[in-house]
């Protein structure tokens, strides 16, 4: 049986839940474990209840699951909320100064400053470090690496604080030795090439950098902000100009201006921020300016649930803007796919001179997955520009069979680049000649023909002949693929069809993937079945069943299987 352990670390915001999760998760990955980390947090800076779940295994993991095997409680509320989830044989590790009551009969390790670092002023951080050391102790993994990592991450606070962290982690590890070790990771071997622990938004940021990103503008809004931050941390080093805009309207218009002038540009936002951007989506399409827009979904309508997850903006992003306009919509299902999708988005935007959307969500944005370096192949996205001198005569919107007109940059020759939001003549000047209007409108929409041929982001898993098909998109990929494997283990043949490229809709690949489906279950994180509607619109196929979630939490295999009871 493979190892499959869920560690929940919970506390109030500001107590250090995140600051111990990452070093612990990274130590586990370095030791050779597969780890998935899911964050659950509230829209506040201090207090409230937040928790991270680390799922740890010796085999590759598709995503998170339900249940708790090791509960790390930094406050009483975490005990009250999560102790009922603790599996038989599980253990509670708690902050003995914050947690006053532990129900009798629960195997528990209380950690206090007095026991970890007697005679110091270390405070709460000692307990956090001690708890992460204790987790490694229970799993029979060495603590030295973690102790160093903690010391490093607290180095800015001085040598004394760094030392406390190192000692507390080591002492926590020792204290754990007196408890039974239900699971041992001692047999793991560290990977020859180090594995990566990466979130979806970090992977998209790396993809964007590899695609040649040089300009990004945005306005902070959860969950988009984590992507903006990931670029910001690397902007100076890699030569990306980053501007925090006064609002999302500025953010997208500024990115369009930068792209018109020849920077490789992107912007992004969430929820209401995208409502503000929609006018300029039409502008990018009309002026035929390459642009990558990330829309990180969260539940709505309006402000909704700022820090939770959703797949409720698919239909909005498909149609946002005035009239009909060409666009591509991509939605990655894993960090590796996030990297690939980012490269593809810049490539399509460049070659088709259109806005390209990357649809992510809070779950995809923040959850970290164990990845291999090989999952991130290098790729170069060249410019698609007309650079031959044309003697000053140039039509920015020349009518062509493909609908794509030769693009030039202003200031790179005597050819003038005239771009217009009004309907315009081939040379870019506004017109009310309705014959020209029809020609131009058709020219822009003709791009969709070739673009449709580039849409092939379809992944299948499970028994390819199975009559039961779970169709999903975007970040639901991991939980759905695990649900399919669990069905197989129960003797139920099923398969997954996952879409990471949604528009132009990959009609033929989808039809062929769905061949032989008797029960078509569309699994998505919205209430109305937005993919189900899109499928019917584009193929005529009607999903026979649906599993939907819209409470703001991500899918788990258990949730999907509960939704399928009675169906399969």
């Amino acid at each position: 049986m493979p190892i499959d352990l869920n560690i929940l670390i919970g506390g109030a915001a500001g107590q250090g839940v995140h600051s111990i999760t990452t070093p612990l998760a990274r130590s586990l990955v370095r030791a050779g474990a597969r780890v998935v980390v899911v964050q659950d947090y509230q829209s506040r800076i201090r207090g409230g209840h937040i928790f991270n779940v680390l799922r740890v295994s010796d085999v590759p993991l598709a995503g998170p699951r339900e249940g708790v095997d090791l509960l790390v409680a930094l406050n009483q509320e975490t005990v009250a909320l999560h102790l009922p989830e603790l599996a038989p044989g599980g253990l509670l590790i708690y902050d003995a100064e914050q947690v006053q009551e532990v129900p009798p009969g629960v195997p528990a390790l209380g950690l206090s400053l007095e026991e970890l670092l007697p005679g110091t002023q270390a405070g709460e951080i000692a307990v956090n470090a001690g708890a992460s050391g204790a987790v490694l102790g229970l799993l029979e993994l060495p603590v030295a690496g973690l102790a160093e990592m903690l010391a490093e991450s607290f180095a800015a606070k001085g040598e004394e604080v760094a030392g406390w962290n190192r000692q507390a982690a080591t002492r926590g590890w020792e204290l754990a030795q007196k408890f039974p070790h239900a699971v041992s990771l001692a047999g793991l071997t560290p990977p020859p090439t180090p594995w990566l622990l990466m979130s979806g938004h970090e992977a998209v940021a790396v993809g964007a950098l590899m695609a040649g990103l040089t300009f990004i503008s945005g306005y902070p809004m959860t969950p988009w902000t984590s992507l903006f931050n990931a670029v910001a941390q690397r902007a100076l080093k890699y030569g990306v100009v980053l501007e925090q805009a006064e609002d999302e309207i500025c953010a997208i218009n500024m990115a369009i201006g930068a792209s018109y002038a020849g920077a490789r540009a992107m912007t992004g936002t969430s929820g209401g921020g995208f409502c503000l951007m929609t006018e300029a989506v039409g502008l990018a399409a009309m002026t035929e300016t390459p642009l990558v827009v990330v829309v990180a979904q969260r539940p709505g309508p309006s402000t909704g649930l700022p820090t939770r997850t959703s797949q409720g903006d698919l239909q909005f992003v498909l149609w946002a803007g005035q009239d009909d306009s060409p666009r591509a919509v991509l939605a990655p299902g894993s960090p590796a796919q996030g990297y690939a999708v980012a490269l593809k988005a810049f490539d399509l935007a460049e070659r088709y001179q259109i806005p390209v959307f990357i649809l992510t969500d809070q779950y995809f944005a923040d959850s970290q997955h164990t990845c291999r370096v090989e999952d991130f192949p290098a790729r170069r996205i060249p410019f698609a520009l007309e650079t031959e001198p044309a003697g000053g005569v140039y039509e920015r919107y020349a009518l062509t069979e493909s609908g794509i007109s030769p693009r030039r940059l202003p200031g790179f020759g005597p050819e003038l680049v005239v771009a217009d939001s009004d309907e315009h003549t081939p040379d870019g000047h506004l017109t009310e000649d309705l014959r020209v209007r029809v020609q131009m409108h058709e020219k822009r929409l003709r791009k969709l023909t070739a673009l449709a041929g580039e849409m092939r982001g379809l992944t299948t898993a499970g028994d390819p002949e199975a009559p039961v098909v779970l169709l999903c998109w975007g970040s639901s990929r991991g939980p759905v693929s695990e649900a399919v494997s669990r069905l197989a283990a129960q003797g139920v043949a099923a398969r997954m069809v996952h879409l990471s490229e949604l528009w132009p809709f990959p009609r033929e690949p989808v039809l062929s993937a769905l061949e032989g489906a008797k029960k078509l279950v569309v699994v998505e994180q919205n209430a109305s079945g937005q993919l189900m509607r899109l499928l019917r619109q584009e193929t005529g196929l009607v999903g026979t069943q649906a599993v939907r979630r819209y409470d703001g939490r991500p899918f788990t295999p258990e949730y999907i299987l509960r939704g399928l009871s009675g169906v399969v």
Binding site: L197, Y238, N253, G262, A263, G411, F412, D420
Partner: protein
């Protein structure tokens, strides 16, 4: 000097007598005198009669959406600081729809010229009051007259340390050409408001009305455009006396120079090689 005919654009759709005509002529003259080649110039506009300006001129153009010219222009400057960037918009566009971007531009101080054609009316939509319409202005939407006083954009600019603030009048072509030249040669955000009579929808603020009121601010014995409080008082003047000329100057670092990333040259057409292994190593 370059020949002004170099900038000849397509035929205009403005009303005969429109204040935009002398502006177009004076602007071409200023460009010619400063020898700014059409290929090195980008005009950015948005919505309104004044935003058609770039079409009637031969140069690179980005005609965008209502109120959003400044963000586009700033993006262009950041992508390619070798380009001369001029925003030509109207009062309704910049002071109404695009107000937030005006505030942000004052703070950012990008090296570009912002020309606001102020006719105190929405002309394209046929005569509604604008943020600069005088109190009491009557139109279809305000049959009793606009109940509140106009915005004072120049005073706002001074209060927010805009690095160059000036005003001119479409009825004084030579003054206008000189002001265009000063604005175009200023390093940083040059905010030039031009009083531009709308001969069709604004029957109050006519050429005559402005001609009686404007005076050249440099003729004041206390002229002190580097003095913030002086400039603020002058910028607030409106009514019987309307100052034109350079009202405020405050040298400030420009936005573009705050990015060391631009030291290696424009982003335009740049495709940096990035070390994938190094980028990934951060996550191991």
């Amino acid at each position: 000097m370059l020949p002004p005919e170099l900038y000849a654009g397509i035929e205009s759709a403005w009303c005969p007598g429109c204040g935009n005509f002398p502006m177009l002529k004076a602007f071409k003259q200023a460009l010619a005198e400063l020898e700014i080649r059409p290929q090195d110039l980008v005009l950015v506009s948005a919505i309104g009669q004044s935003s058609k300006f770039p079409h009637y001129l031969k140069c690179n153009t980005f005609n965008g959406i209502h109120g959003r010219a400044l963000p586009v222009a700033t993006g262009i400057r950041l992508a390619n600081p070798t380009l001369k960037v001029v925003v030509t918009v109207g009062d309704g566009d910049q002071y109404g729809e695009g107000g937030n971007h005006l505030l942000a531009a004052f703070r950012r101080n990008p090296d570009l010229t912002l020309v606001v054609h102020n006719n105190q009316i929405y002309a394209l939509t046929k005569g509604q009051a604008s943020p600069t319409s005088d109190q009491g202005t009557k139109d279809l939407l305000h049959p009793q007259g606009v109940p509140y006083p106009p915005l004072h954009p120049l005073a706002l600019a001074v209060a927010q340390d805009c690095s160059w603030v000036g005003r001119s009048f479409a009825g004084m072509p030579q003054h206008l050409t000189e002001m265009y030249k000063k604005a175009l040669t200023h390093k940083g955000l040059a905010f030039l408001e031009v009083l531009q009579p709308c001969v069709t929808f604004n029957k109050v603020n006519t050429y005559e009305w402005y001609r009686k009121r404007v005076y050249e601010v440099e003729t004041r014995p206390d002229y002190a455009p580097e003095d913030e409080l002086w400039a603020y008082r002058v910028a607030k003047e409106w009514g019987e006396q309307i100052p034109i000329g350079v009202i405020f100057r405050k040298p400030r670092p420009i936005l573009e120079e705050s990015f060391p990333q631009l030291a290696a040259g424009p982003l335009a057409g740049r495709l940096p090689e990035r070390p994938l292994a190094e980028l990934l190593a951060e996550f191991s």
